[in-house]
Amino acid sequence: MRASRIACVRVPDFALAWWLARHPEFSEVPVVLAEGQKAASPVLAVNSAAHAYDVRPGLSVSQARARAKALHVQVRDPKSEHDLSRRIVASLQSVTPAVEEDAPGLWFLESLGQGRLYGGERRFIRHVFDTLAPFALPVCVGLAGHRDVARVAAQVSSPRTFLIVPTGSERKFLAALPSHHAAAPSLAPYLRALGLDTMAQVAELPASQWAARFGSSGVQLQKLAQGLEGSPFAPETLTEPLRQEAAFDFPLFSSITLVERAEALLTPLLAVLASRQEAAYAVHVEFDLENRENVSWELALSTPVCVTAPFARQLSHALGLQPPRAGVRGIVVQIESSGAAPVEQLEWSHRPERVVPRELPHRSGEWRTPRALSAALPEAAAEWHPTEAPTPKAGLLADAPIHLPCLSSAFGLRLFSPPQRVTAVWSNGALSTLESPALHQRVQAYHGPWVVSGHWWRQPFHRLYYEVDTAGPRYLVYYDRAAGHWYVQGVFD
């Protein structure tokens, strides 16, 4: 068998650790990473301050809050986890080109010969720590003859420490370790029930018996317990992202200009993709702001395209919602390899020869899609069915659905927000006039009152509604019993 040395780099609770690294001010505050902000969302990871309150992964957010009043809940962001993991892969590739990303927070490095290069395996690992130091993460490293033992070694290491397992002593190293460290989750209860608490006990039972009971996962565990290689190391080759950036002589503020510039940067990237028979469905745009802050967006589509317009529209919309707080000094536009797909996979019928012209026509901030390109846009593939009006039933007598005794149903109701307070003048027991600074209408007829009440559990209301016919329009008027005031809620146009 070919000799190998594999290092495993592991960051426990990767996403939370990354967030805490960026927010050191929360080191004393109980913090949890959760699937969502909702009360029922599960807690995925907790920091030590939260742990002190007996907050554990698996609780719901509200259960966690009940235990730690000052709890900060950070919602998981898989996309940024993924991005960070990719950045770490890129960093690790500067140490050794053969890197395997197993999951966010777990990477493997080919380390054979690295010891000679760096002056010993310990120094090599030190270099790995130094490389990852800018991330300020609690990294653990294990180094062993193969991938699985390296993972276990990293697993049993404390944060910011490492453990080297010399070649040939894998079985000895594993022997005393608890078996659940290495077992698949489905196996763990059986190991406990069978009293197979250590890897040594696992190793003693013949592989054939493991296979007969637990299939491949049993064999894998037994192999590992014997210090044998299980799953092979599978390094990846990182594809360089397509990237364009521009710096401006003076800060830009206009959203229209910014979108235009971003689009200009995106166009050649799409052209490159088109030349590879690929299209993009995710584009990363980052603005470098005057105040040294950066803002970025992930513009994503459900279907890959080779045109800029859908991304431009998304960016324009994003800027509309949240304009940059300072002038923009530079823009970076990037398409990750994961953000592109081969053209063959596209479902829409238009091929990428319809590359967007460099200059997209636009007018006063409102994007117009050129007619020639519209068919290429993914949304053009969707069909729109207008809602059909129900066919009236063939008439029986002069039947008609019941109409309200008032005429309101013949009109559209325009609601005032908030309703306008008015004075209702009554004479001879009948409503005669509606008055307000903006309204003075003599009442010709009215219908009602209709009683509407409710919402007692939050903000109770109790209103008497009238439809009031005046010389002018017809109004929807109500009397608020709680407040003792009259309001016009809307007008029938």
């Binding site: 009360a39 029922a40 719901s60 509200s62 259960q63 009940a66 059986y190 029930a193 069978l194 009293g195 197979l196 608490d197 006990q201 039972l205 013949p206 054939s208 018996q209 007969a212 009971r213 637990f214 299939g215 039933k393 029986l396 007598l397 039947d399 008609a400 659905p401 019941i402 109409h403 309200l404 005794p405 008032c406 219908h447 009602g448 009152p449 209709w450 009683v451 509407v452 009440s453 409710g454 007692w456 559990w457 939050r458």
Partner: protein, 1036 residues
């Protein structure tokens, strides 16, 4: 009833028996109707007469004429309101509802048009709410179809018995609909009638109605939208308001009164008589009863004494006079069936006062010998029929129920229902959900509220749960949850109440399917059934009879002795010794903590002592303050005195302390010259549902009678006061005597046949106070060997094996009824030869087999628990169909299981262990901490401060205990009684209410051999993973 132009009667009204729709109790509606000046009011719940009896009773009490009816759902989904006009109509409505309910799944009853047409006479129909066919068609604009529907209904019911219903809740659509209905009435020459479609008594109840609506639709209030009514107008409006509202619709209000005048049905006329019992040719039922009693008396008494003769004659003549011979024959027949089938049964309750019942072998206690009072059971003046309750061995009760169904036919027999009502915890949960509180907030509050809470102290529970009780939504939560408590939620089956009738039952009360297969229930509970005039027979399941039955069979099998309980002498000192030592785990009625505490003080030596013991530790005597005086007098610490010398013969047996209801009656007879029947009336007037007016009347007569008999006014007043205080709490002596029999028998089995006793106790589970784990530990402490479950030796049930008890397959938690069938079928084909053979033939599922392996079921094949599991795992991997022959692989050596792991596996798999008690595993640590065991407490003196620890096996917080909580802890040496004072309960709530294992600091209190620890400090005791497997039994 005379009419008045401005009078209005509400004819469409839903109570909370329109489940999860109506928001007021029927009684509230009746009382509110009376307050508003209604002269009559209808109750029209959805598809049932569930609340009819209560409503009728409350309305009559309030002076309102009750009209019965229902809003039925028709086969086309439309609603129709049906009001009962007369007896025929009532029968027809019951038949309609029964047919619909029996033909549909629960909650989906629909009345077919054909059945409606056939049973329309005697009913008055209203077109219903917006879900009625006519309103729905008019709303859709289909006037012609509406006209046709109206004509059709008018044809079915008669033009003068069908009305178009106008409802107006101040909504625009209602006004339009009223106009259309009014026009339609005019066109079709049909009457119109105003109704309120009432869903609650006052507008104040509207939030509760909204909540119920949301519960029904599984939505929160915030998401409810159109599920909620738009305003609070569906309350019982003042008649004047209704008159004004409908003034423009001529006749709409006047017709309400017209209809009310035609609705004359009353429950007084309900023909609920029993079916005629088949008797031998030429005999009357009375003669036949007389003959059976004579035969039974000869068997029971031999030659009759004059007293016996006269008592039997007195009873028989009264039974004849009240025409109840048929009833006694029906119950006799049930007891006969039980005897013939070898089903253990015994009458309980006041029936044991009857010598006739004794001779008919319905009851087992001789009332003449015990000087019991027949009139407590039956008297001429008593308006109600007698109540005979029969206890039947639990495991065979279904046979008896099915016999009754078979004998009288399903048309004539059904069980009474149990109205399942909201209790505190469920109300908190459901209202919390509807108000949109988070799940864990709801959990927090719900955990604070006990299972059986009546919604009291919710505010303090909320504070304890960390909720801000001042917050509007929290206030609503607590208020609405408290109001929801007691609301009916659904129907269950009463534990044993059956009614049989001569007329088809479905014409007397609506019947519906029970969830239990093969059973049907009426829509009333036992009280309502009784109020409506039905005679109920209670066929109750009793676990102790099962135990006695099973133990008797085992004694026969292993000792060749047939135990005849009738021949026991009831004076065996060994049995009384056991009871005096309070070694009563598993003994009927005296195994509770309070009974165990009393037995060493009481020191029973005679059968009557047992009768007193059974009656003494009851809420009544405890609340009435009778326990301590009795025990002090018995102990000679207090002189035995009597309120008057006349009362000495009556109270002598209970040392001057009145304990039994019969004594109260005898006092009235002896001191005031009351007849026994009058005395019974007095007991009832003073009893549970006391009537002040009646009590005052009878009280005056009682005092006058006493003065006439030479008792001075002061003493007479004192006796009356004592009687009235006692009447509500006293216990029926006959009932206590019936139970005392079972106490003696179960103690007899425990003393002389311990293996058979414990074996049967385990097989009769669930029953009694103690979990199987406690039973097993207790048996082992008493020196009985308990053998583990073993697939080569065990049967499904536990068995007796060489003087020891062998646990059966039933001990394994994951083996349910299906597994029972599979195992028994496999065992019929021969015993199991190997693990593979067991897996193959038992065909149990994987989970069950794994659990069985871990509790050591396969030890008989020479396999340890872990070896068995290891081998099983290999067998599971075999392809389906491959024969599970022995494997060729070499034998794997699995690690030996530690004792603690074995205990954990046992609790996980069986809820009991034959290994060391979990507390024993911790004893060294506990001893280092100065924690004493249960046996150490014997050496402690009064007032010693001690630390004790144990598993909480029982928690009791009886209503009579004024907030005290009683814990029973168990360790390897026995039980520890802990008393927690109310302030400590509040302070250590989480520990004392929710913790499995407890360390308790407290003071020792000793009294006559009874040791209690009065807890002052509590901390949880953690057993690691075992903690999750231990459970207490919590009682109120």
């Amino acid at each position: 009833m005379t009419t008045h132009a401005s009078e209005y009667v509400e004819l469409h009204c839903h109570s909370n028996f329109s489940f999860l729709d109506g928001a007021s109790h029927p009684e509230e509606l009746a009382r509110q109707a009376a307050r508003l000046g209604y002269r009559a009011c209808a109750l029209t719940d959805h598809n049932g007469l569930y609340g009819a009896v209560r409503f009728s009773r409350a309305a009559l009490e309030a002076g309102v004429h009750p009209i019965l009816g229902a809003e039925v759902t028709l086969e086309d989904g439309h609603h129709l309101v049906l009001l009962v006009s007369d007896e025929t109509g009532y029968g027809h409505l019951c038949r309609l509802l029964s047919t619909a309910q029996l033909a549909a799944a629960k909650g989906h009853a629909k009345v077919s048009h054909a059945v409606l047409r056939e049973h329309a006479s005697g009913l008055i129909a209203l077109s219903g709410c917006r879900h009625g066919k006519i309103p729905a068609l008019l709303t859709a604009g289909d006037t012609q179809a509406a006209l046709r529907a109206a004509e059709e209904y008018a044809h079915w019911f008669g033009r003068d018995r069908f009305y178009l219903e106008l409802q107006h809740h101040h909504l625009p659509a209602h006004e339009a609909l009223c106009e259309r209905l009014y026009e339609l009435g005019h066109t079709a020459n049909l009457g119109v009638v105003a109704t309120g479609n009432v869903h609650y008594a006052t507008p104040h109840d509207r939030p509760l109605q909204d909540v119920l609506n949301c519960i029904r639709h599984h939505v929160t209030l915030d998401d409810a939208g159109g599920v909620l009514y738009p305003n609070a107008e569906r309350y019982l409006m003042p008649p004047a308001a209704m008159v004004k509202k409908f003034s423009r619709y001529s006749g709409a209000v006047a017709n309400t009164l017209d209809i009310a005048l035609r609705c004359t049905f009353s429950f007084d006329t309900l023909p609920a008589e029993l079916p005629a019992f088949p008797v031998p040719g030429g005999m009357s039922t009375q003669d036949y009863l007389r003959q059976l009693v004579a035969e039974g008396a000869a068997e029971r008494y031999g030659e009759l004494s004059a007293v016996q003769k006269s008592q039997l004659e007195h009873e028989l003549s009264l039974i004849g006079k009240l025409n109840l011979a048929g009833y006694f024959l029906i119950v006799w027949d049930i007891a006969r069936f039980c005897r013939e089938r070898g089903i253990l049964c015994q009458g309980r309750g006041s029936a044991a006062n009857s010598a006739v019942c004794y001779c008919l072998k319905i009851t087992a206690v001789d009332p003449i010998k015990l000087d019991l009072l027949f009139e407590r059971f039956l008297s001429e003046e008593r308006a109600e029929p007698p109540d005979i309750d029969v206890d039947i061995a639990n495991h065979r009760r279904e046979e008896v129920i099915q016999y009754v169904y078979e004998k009288y036919g399903r048309e004539h027999a059904a069980m009474v229902c149990e109205v399942i009502c909201y209790r505190g915890r469920l109300a908190v949960r459901e209202v919390g959900k509807v108000l949109g509180f988070a799940g864990d907030q709801i959990d927090l509050l719900a955990k604070q509220v006990g299972h059986y809470s009546n919604g009291e102290n919710l505010a303090s529970h909320a504070r304890a749960a960390g909720l801000n009780a001042a917050d509007l939504r929290v206030r609503h939560w607590l208020d609405l949850a408290a109001r929801l408590v007691g609301f009916p939620r659904h129907l269950g089956i009463h534990v044993g109440g059956m009614i049989v009738t001569a007329r088809p039952l479905a014409e007397l009360v609506p019947i519906e399917n029970a969830t239990h297969p093969g059973r049907s229930v009426i829509q009333w509970d036992k009280d309502d059934a009784q109020d409506a005039g039905f005679i109920k027979i209670d066929l109750l399941g009793l676990g102790m009879l099962t135990l006695i039955d099973l133990a008797g069979k085992l004694v026969q099998e292993h000792h060749g002795i047939t135990l005849d309980w009738a021949t026991l002498s009831y004076d065996d000192s060994n049995i009384y010794d056991l009871l005096c030592r309070a070694e009563t785990v598993g003994v009927f009625q005296v195994e509770s903590r309070a009974q165990m505490n009393t037995l060493p003080r009481m020191k029973p030596r005679t059968f009557y002592d047992l009768v007193v013991e059974v009656a003494l530790i009851r809420p009544g005597p405890i609340q009435g303050g009778m326990v301590h005086p009795y025990l002090r007098r018995r102990d000679g610490k207090e002189a035995v005195t009597y309120p008057h010398p006349l009362l000495e013969p009556i109270l002598k047996r209970t040392l001057g302390v009145p304990l039994f209801q019969e004594q109260g009656m005898k006092v009235a007879v002896a001191a005031a010259g009351f007849t026994a029947a009058q005395a019974d009336q007095l007991r009832r007037a003073m009893g549970h549902k006391r009537s002040h007016q009646k009590m005052e009347e009878l009280g005056l007569a009682l005092v006058a009678g006493m003065i006439r008999n030479g008792i001075d006014q002061k003493a007479a007043d004192e006796i009356f006061t004592q009687l009235s205080a006692f009447a509500d709490f006293g216990f029926a002596e006959s009932h206590a005597a019936s139970f005392a029999l079972l106490v003696y028998i179960s103690a007899y089995l425990k003393v002389y046949y311990p293996a058979e006793f414990y074996c049967s106790l385990l097989n009769a589970q669930p029953m009694g106070f103690y979990s199987p784990s406690s039973v097993v530990f207790e048996a082992r402490r008493r020196g009985l060997r308990i053998l583990p479950v073993d697939c080569t030796k065990s049967l499904w049930d536990c068995t007796v094996e060489g003087g020891a008890v062998r646990l059966g397959f039933r001990s394994i938690k994951k083996l349910g009824p299906r597994a029972k069938e599979q195992i028994e079928r496999a065992l019929e084909a021969g015993s199991f030869k190997s693990l593979a053979d067991f897996v193959h033939r038992s065909a149990l599922d994987r989970d069950a087999l794994e659990q069985a392996a871990l509790v050591g079921l396969f030890r008989g094949f020479g396999l340890t628990r872990r070896q068995a599991l290891w081998q099983l795992l290999a067998l599971f991997q075999r392809p389906p169909g491959e024969l599970p022959l022995s494997t060729q692989e070499e034998e794997a050596v699995m690690p030996t299981m530690l004792a603690s792991d074995a205990v954990l596996a046992d609790f996980q798999g069986m809820d009991l262990t034959l290994g060391p008690h979990p507390m024993k595993l911790f004893r060294a640590v506990l001893t280092r901490r100065g924690i004493r065991s249960a046996s150490d407490l014997e050496q402690c003196a009064q007032g010693d401060v001690v630390n004790v620890a144990g598993i909480v096996v029982i928690r009791q917080r009886p209503g009579t205990a004024k907030g005290f909580l009683f814990l029973t802890l168990e360790d390897e040496t026995g039980f520890i009684n802990v008393v927690v004072k109310p302030d400590q309960v509040e302070r250590f709530r989480s520990e004392v209410v929710h913790t499995t294992g407890l360390v308790v600091q407290g003071k020792v209190e000793r009294e006559q051999g009874v040791i209690n620890v009065i807890g002052t400090g509590f901390e949880p005791l953690r057993f690691g993973r075992t903690t999750a497997q231990l459970h207490s039994r919590d009682f109120r």
